[in-house]
């Protein structure tokens, strides 16, 4: 069996529909556990005080904002190379989720930055590249809605996605590329010396798992929606002909 069989919309929907409720409920439970754990049952940081609790929202949302764009890049490349409609629709379905994740990361970062850095916003390399990534998300969704022909829209948004990937990479590595600005390096790393203390790390991992599950659930649900809408348009066009 080949992975490309799932590029068939019917096969994709038949395979993912039974999994969807489990993923959504799993996301809900994992998010509630992670956020309740982080908010109610973790101590304050000795320097940041209670603002450390913002970490459980900011870090997973920022990680997802970047990784959703990477997922969109992969599915866009699959569309451009193999012309599988499900992959183009999955990229389109992921766009609004990415916008919300970027917005959460920007808002929680600003709210955290005000008391800790003394400013809501600074034109720091990471913050600036993240803002540009947010604008790319908006442009990506606007392009999908502006072009009537589905295949042309998929082609042009795929190209935009490739261009925007530069900023997705920059948002992740800007701190390493330019050793300046206020934003610190990665808070979570596989290198134990750089990691935050376990008391903050474990609830953060649960929150990250919750955000990932929520994304998977939503992208499946929204891809089903896009497939149904496209089929409805195709049937209407056939009836008109």
């Amino acid at each position: 069996m080949s992975i490309w069989e799932y590029a068939n919309p019917k096969k994709f929907m038949a395979t993912t529909a039974p999994v969807l409720p489990w993923v959504m409920w799993g996301a809900g439970v994992t998010l509630v556990v992670g956020l309740v754990w982080g908010f109610f049952f973790t101590p304050d940081d000795y320097r940041q005080g209670s603002t450390v609790k913002i970490f459980y929202l900011h870090v997973p949302a920022a990680m997802m904002a970047i990784n959703i764009w990477v997922m969109m890049l992969v599915t866009s490349l699959v569309w451009l190379i193999r012309r599988h409609h499900v992959s183009a629709l999955a990229a389109k379905a992921a766009g609004p989720i990415g916008i919300v994740m970027t917005l959460i990361a920007l808002f929680t970062g600003a709210v955290w930055g005000q008391p800790i850095w003394g400013t809501w916003w600074v034109w720091d390399p990471r913050l600036t590249s993240f803002l540009i990534l947010f604008l790319f998300y908006l442009g990506y969704m606007a392009l999908w809605t502006a072009i009537e022909d589905d295949d042309t829209a998929a082609d042009l948004t795929s190209v935009l996605c490739i261009v925007g990937s530069v900023f997705a990479v920059l948002s992740r590595y800007a701190v390493n590329f330019w050793n300046q600005g206020l934003h610190q390096g990665a808070s979570l790393s596989l290198d134990a010396e750089e990691n935050v203390a376990d008391v903050f790390w474990y609830p953060a991992l649960v929150c990250i798992a919750g955000f990932i599950l929520l994304f998977v659930g939503l992208v499946i649900l929204r891809t089903h929606t896009e497939i149904r809408l496209r089929r409805a348009r195709a049937l209407e066009a056939r009836m008109r002909a």
Partner: protein, 53 residues
């Protein structure tokens, strides 16, 4: 039950409130558009079936 958030109470609570609202809004919009799409497709398929007898 409510943890003592000290002088950062507004920052922490606003971060949680806005984020949770955004996430719930996204889920609600996604579920609503999924239901609408299902209803639209059903309606079109019914029309198609009637037309084809």
């Amino acid at each position: 039950m409510m943890p003592d958030l000290g002088k950062y109470v507004v920052e922490v609570l606003s971060a949680y409130a806005v984020s949770i609202l955004l996430l719930l809004g996204l889920v609600w919009l996604s579920v609503r558009s999924a239901r609408k799409a299902r209803a639209t497709l059903d309606a079109v398929e019914n029309r198609m079936d009637k037309r084809n007898g």
